[in-house]
């Protein structure tokens, strides 16, 4: 009798052990598949901040343009070329601030999660993001060259959207939908030339804030 119970217990415990093991095996497989193809450390907060920078930038740009057109400030006496440089400068400042913030927050989050920032996956993600972005940037310079200023805002939105979609293959999160939304807004804005700044504020500002907020509540909390 004793012997029977003994063997029964041994059998029982090995069975449950292996079941647990198999389950752990599957979780491990899933986690490695995700970790090796997707970069998880994009921070939601950096999305929110990038959106806020973009909104502030758009507001400053709008103010500058208004005061330039009304001619009620010192700006009005600046030559148009110089004025355009100031606007480009504001946009560049927004871009640089956003990139720095994203990098810092990603670094912080990766440290917290004990992940490395520069892995082959994150490099691949960055590469797939940068190629459409630079293509779009160069194309915008060409638009400027041919004096098609009105198309610059739609093109930046569309190519940024394409960059997001391209990068979405290598990252967790819903950056894919951010890309699609930006492309749609960009395409719509081609029909409202002259309102580029508002579409910019919508695409780079509002959308980033929504996206960042969703990411923050979904992954960071």
């Amino acid at each position: 009798m004793n012997y029977f119970f003994y063997t029964y217990f041994v059998f029982q415990s090995t069975l449950t052990m292996t079941e647990k093991d198999y389950l752990q095996d599957l979780t491990e497989i899933k986690s490695i598949m995700n970790k090796s193809t997707r970069f998880i450390s994009l921070s939601g907060m950096s999305g929110i901040l990038a959106g806020v920078y973009a909104l502030i930038g758009a507001w400053v740009g709008n103010m500058l343009i208004n005061s330039y057109q009304n001619g009620d400030s010192n700006f009005a006496y600046l030559p148009i070329n110089f004025f355009e440089y100031i606007l480009v400068g504001v946009a560049a400042l927004v871009l640089i601030l956003s990139i720095c913030t994203a990098y810092l927050f990603t670094l912080k989050k990766a440290k917290k999660n004990n992940e490395k920032v520069w892995t082959s996956v994150s490099k691949r993600m960055l590469r797939s993001f940068i190629v459409p972005l630079i293509t779009g940037g160069l194309l915008c310079i060409v638009l400027y060259q041919y004096n098609l200023i009105g198309l610059i805002a739609p093109f930046t939105l569309i190519f940024y959207g394409l960059a997001c979609i391209n990068a979405s293959k290598y990252t967790m999160g819903d950056i894919y939908y951010l890309g699609i939304s930006n492309i749609i807004i960009g395409l719509i804005s081609t029909q409202f030339i002259g309102y580029g700044l508002y579409f910019w504020a919508l695409g780079f500002g509002v959308l980033h804030i929504i996206y960042g907020f969703l990411m923050y509540t979904k992954y960071d909390k």
């Binding site: 389950l23 599957l26 491990e28 090796s36 892995t119």
Partner: protein, 98 residues
């Protein structure tokens, strides 16, 4: 039960080997350092498990030079993909049985 256990592959009876296969299933190829990074194991440990998987022809090794640096790429073979899928299906069945 016996049928399921038949598909549980002894070659995958180890976390690191399972990890190598998982990573190679979803990546076209990976080099040694990326694999090491993903799995968080030591050089020697990884090398011996890679050798074991290569021996049964579940993964293949491709050596090349990038500039002057030797670079080794690992990728999964057709046989490896097939066996790994069978293994996962068996694992899932075992869990759903309980």
């Amino acid at each position: 039960m016996k049928d399921i256990l038949k598909n549980i592959n002894k070659a995958f009876d180890n976390r690191i080997r399972l990890g190598i296969m998982s990573a190679l299933m979803v990546n076209e190829f990976l080099d040694f350092n990326s694999l090491k990074e993903i799995l968080g194991v030591t050089d020697g440990n990884l090398a011996s498990h890679i050798k074991a998987l290569e021996k049964v022809e579940y993964i293949k090794i491709e050596k090349q030079f990038i500039g002057k640096k030797p670079n080794t790429k690992y990728s999964i073979t057709k046989l490896g993909t097939l066996e790994f899928k069978k293994h996962i299906a068996a694992l899932e069945k075992l869990i759903h049985k309980s």
